[in-house]
Amino acid sequence: MAESDTDAIKAVLAGETAQFEDLIQKYSPRVFATARRYARREVEVEDIVQEVWSKAFQKLGSFRGEAPFEHWLMRLAVRTCYDFLRGHKRNREHTFTELSDPERDWLDRFGRDPGRDTEDADAARALVERLMGMVSPKARLILTLLEIEERSVKEIAQLTGWSVSLVKVRAFRARAEMRKCLARISADAYL
């Protein structure tokens, strides 16, 4: 672990809380990037990151130093993002909004010629966001870590606190769930 991180953590635990600001400055970009994978609105992103740092401060005494501080922090960040997804899913109304015209056009072009490099990246990204919004929080977390960020099963187990076998089971279910949602999107495109 970087000596500056060790020194900063020791100082914070000894009561020099101002040193915590150095850690926030150093690792906030990574935490923000992580949060932006799971929340669309910037106000939600900021809430998530604030929650991550609040938990990090409260739990700093439990940090053993066996792994880099960044790994410990990212575990906290992923779990906070998962909590956000679960809370957000409960509050959201479960309505499937109609596809926008750009999304329909993109799907139509893709359907006619899947091999062709389709234009309108915004429509494609909107479809990705729509798909991620349709799956359960567990599925979204697994799909983001496994498929989009291409992390290994072992890494995901460490980040989430789930066992390796549980990650595999959830990955299988998440892919099946995504498949169902894709079928629904595809069917909606032709209505």
Partner: protein
């Protein structure tokens, strides 16, 4: 529509998307201010919890003593308690 290809394409779009790591201006200052207020609240919470626990203990002692006074046989136990307390008080006043 080939769902496998659609899935692969959308996953690739998600992978290619560049996620911003921008940190809002003075964000760390806001966090530090928030952590400061959380620490103050924790001290108040600690005191409140301690006082409530002390009140609970006092209440338990009162209830036990009340039960004991109700269930004790006739007045003998009450008289014993009274005489014990009074004799202690007399001893204290003698020592003065």
């Amino acid at each position: 529509m080939d769902l496998d290809k659609l899935q692969a394409k959308l996953i690739q779009v998600a992978r290619d998307q560049v996620i911003s790591n921008h940190v809002p201006f003075a964000f760390e200052k806001r966090i530090m201010a928030r952590l400061g207020s959380v620490r103050s609240m924790d001290l108040a919470t600690f005191w409140a919890r301690s006082l409530w626990r002390a009140a609970a203990v006092c209440l338990a002692v009162s209830v036990l003593l009340s039960l004991w006074s109700f269930t004790s046989t006739a007045d003998s136990d009450a008289i014993t308690l009274e005489s014990t307390v009074l004799s202690m008080a007399e001893q204290l006043s003698d020592n003065w």
